[in-house]
Point group: C2
Chain length 498, copies 2
């Protein structure tokens, strides 16, 4: 082909940017579906998303990619593997090779089925009626198998799905990592099961004031509202429509104010990662997040390592008290911190404390592998769910609503996604340690309302690299060690002494 | 080609539906841009819309359309010109022939420029700084000329633009219709200029109560919230994302409650038309509105013929009083109606009363024809604007913000759009007369809170036909007369005796 590598690279970047731009239209439609779409829009939205998924697939599998990548792969442009060109070529090749193996029909069908299944699931959950959702889960598992087989794997379909969320991590590696984590967590959780937990902070917290407080926290940590917005939704999430448009959906409870605050910090952590990506690389792998697990590490870091620190509340508790004088004027900072640091095994993942949370994930990891392998059929899920909750956490959900219907993920077609939450916790502990080794203890800065040091360090060491490194490489560069759960266990043992 | 007409029709409908589906994605992005997008999202949104416009153009100009349409045009499927097949074939041919003449570059460039120009315009208006907007208006006029030339015309570019909004109506026909209207309105307006107008109702009306009242009104006229939503925006509008998803953006003022009510009824009129289209024909001309003017007739009918009627307020004024007891308990129904029926020439179109409104449109019709023809350059627009306002309405705007910067339309690339507002008023008067001839005087029904008779009549006689008839055909079928302004003038003279 008579195209020189410089021309080829320019064209490749143009193709990649257009593909991202098209996906970003679907991202907005999905955001709207969660936040604002009226009930009557469901079918139309499923068709819109199926159409866009098909168009994205057409672009992602354009044979021109292959031609351009081949020219570049043998050129000197990619000789430095950490250069933007080499990173973009490597990751676009990875994406192209995966995508071209996917039949267009499968891509459209997945978009359509999961868009519809979300509404079925939401109704099933509200009515505690697992039976209506079960056939949809069956369809979704079948589609996930098809996807895994199309992508290719060495006998373990789950590997092929995982690779989409956490490139380079295998089911076997995860199993080992999680086995160690389970072994360390089990005695901790058991000890807490024996004790009566700290008392909850159940008062009235007007929603508009919670919103105002959240805006204040977000501004203090330099979350940029010129390039973002806040909304409320059934399920909290963060989505990036583009470099100037990051959207966070929150959920507030009138009685449980702290849930809202930690949800806020969690989503802010995601949002800061998105806002920290280099806009000059937007639309190419160099401008994208490394992996789901690393994205989650950022949210967990802000939620648990910043948001549950002594310093954070030294700074914010007076603000919180003046926001909710009736509820909090007689609650001391110590009493407040005890209330938020309670550990108590329960049936709901999103309500779980830092200590028990990872076991909720490990349960899902086991169940979704069993579903995918066919060792568990969707009809038997509720029983298997209860059994594992009893085994790992010593609790039994009252019903499927607080059992296997609690999460939207499987309805959204996200099989292989859950492990990222536990990986995020593991990475977050290692990253926070590394930050403090370099910046010194951060608690005093937090107490002074200064979060800029941490934010800049994260941007500099993680965000601005886009997909330059794999998640395990980032952890190794920052800590000199492979990902492992010892930093997390140390953190938990320190914060929650038994 | 070895395809039979039945197969060809099926494929044609599939193509049309996909094209509509793709446009509906852009519709959602545009809605979001007006209602929720953060400032930082501007550039990305312009690129997204340009990309979707290009993709839509590719589909709309797919040569397969031509092949399928040719098969169908010579088949017996289209022998009854009022049959769905004949209507769809006729209108898809019209759309295809127009679209294939448009260069893709022009389509993308228009989407990009108008998306950016809207933000420039909004800032220019806020700062009363016409000079920064003028070069953008120049680009938009240049693009409109290109579009008109690409579409083709007999010497009058404005005809080519008009045809996109009001198929079958020419500049010459409009000029005659508007000349007659101007002649009839001028003495009416002059008479009102001599008199002191009724006093305004300036009180405090809490926004949340205005919202609640609006929801109540909408429900009473059977606007279906399962298939719709309300928001607030800088500029009120109604958009249909699909048959189950109609979105209305409203604007409320804390002191001028009636503006909010009439805006509501206006947008509800649009929304009822969209909700009245046959969902079985969604995505094809049989499931689309006839024209912009006819769409506007529905909004004007609900705003002015329903919303300003004695009966409407007999029903709703007690509700309004109990919603705003402090402001309205001492205001009688008569005093309230006098306040909302005030006639007073002013500089702002959206604040204009029923009598003076059409002159605002006629001024814009003159100015945009002059801009397009090059008889007026954008730099001279502010002066020309002031001159025409003085001539037609006897008022001079204080500044460009309340002069030539007041409307978003030109910044959105909508040249040839304004006449639809006056056409809408003309059609609305004729349609309402026809409805009352058939259903009897409606005021008593309105007073009893019964709007279902009118709504069903409109759905039956207008909405459900989609694009089966041209707007003038609908008027002729309903009234036996061509569109003309005498019904409107009679209505105004009756309601506003001099």
């Amino acid at each position: 082909m008579s195209i020189n590598p410089e021309q080829a690279y320019k064209e490749l970047i143009r193709l990649a940017r257009e593909e991202t731009l098209l996906s970003s239209c679907a991202d907005l439609l999905e955001w709207d579906e969660e936040v604002f779409m009226p009930a009557g829009g469901v079918k139309q939205r499923a068709e819109q998303l199926a159409l866009l998924a098909g168009l994205s697939h057409d672009r992602a599998t354009d044979p021109r990619y292959d031609e351009l990548l081949s020219v570049l792969e043998s050129s000197s442009l990619v000789s430095d593997p950490e250069s933007p060109a080499a990173v973009n070529v490597r990751e676009l090749r990875r994406g192209f090779d995966r995508e071209r193996r996917m039949p267009r029909r499968l891509v459209e069908e997945s978009a359509r089925v999961t868009s519809l299944a979300q509404k079925i699931w939401a109704t099933a959950r509200r009515k505690n009626d697992y039976k209506t959702f079960a056939p949809w889960l069956e369809r979704i598992i079948a589609l996930a198998r098809e996807e895994a087989d199309a992508a290719g794997h060495n006998g373990t379909r789950y590997d092929a799905l995982l690779d989409d969320y956490e490139p380079g991590v295998t089911t076997e590696q995860l199993s080992q990592l999680f086995a160690r984590l389970t072994a360390d967590l089990t005695p901790l959780v058991a000890a807490f099961r024996e004790r009566s937990s700290n008392s909850r902070l159940k008062k009235r917290f007007p929603l508009d004031r919670q919103r105002a407080f959240s805006q204040g926290v977000a501004s203090t940590v330099d979350f940029d509202f010129e390039r973002a917005r806040f909304d409320t939704a059934q399920h909290p999430f963060c989505t990036s429509i583009g470099p100037g448009d990051v959207r966070i959906a929150l959920r507030f409870s009138g009685t449980d104010m702290t849930a809202g605050v930690f949800t806020l910090l969690h989503e802010i952590g995601h949002g800061l990662y998105d806002q920290g990506l280099d806009p000059a690389h937007y639309g190419t792998p160099m401008g994208e997040a490394v992996s789901l697990g690393l994205h989650e590490s950022q949210s967990r870091l802000w939620e648990n390592f910043v948001g549950r620190s002594v310093g954070f509340w030294k700074h914010f508790y007076p603000v919180l008290q003046s926001t909710f004088p009736t509820a909090l004027n007689k609650v001391s900072l110590d009493a407040f911190r005890q209330a938020i640091d309670r550990v108590e095994p329960g049936p709901i993942r999103v309500d779980a404390d830092e200590v028990t949370y990872n076991l909720h994930i490990i349960i899902r990891f086991e169940l979704e592998r069993a579903l995918l392998a066919g060792d568990l059929v969707p009809a038997d899920l509720p029983g298997a769910w209860r059994e594992l909750y009893h085994r790992y956490l010593g609790v039994t959900p009252d019903d499927d609503r607080s059992g296997c219907l609690q999460d939207a993920h499987w309805a959204e077609g996200l099989i292989g996604y859950f492990p990222a939450y536990a990986l995020g916790n593991i990475y977050a502990a290692q990253i926070f340690d590394a930050a403090e080794r370099e910046l010194g203890t951060l608690d005093d800065a937090f107490a002074a309302g200064d979060f800029g040091g941490l934010r800049s360090w994260l941007a500099e060491n993680i965000h601005r690299h886009g997909m330059r490194f794999r998640s395990h490489q980032i952890i190794e560069r920052l800590t000199g060690k492979a990902p492992d759960s010892s930093a997390l266990i140390e953190h938990l043992s320190r914060r929650y002494p038994v």
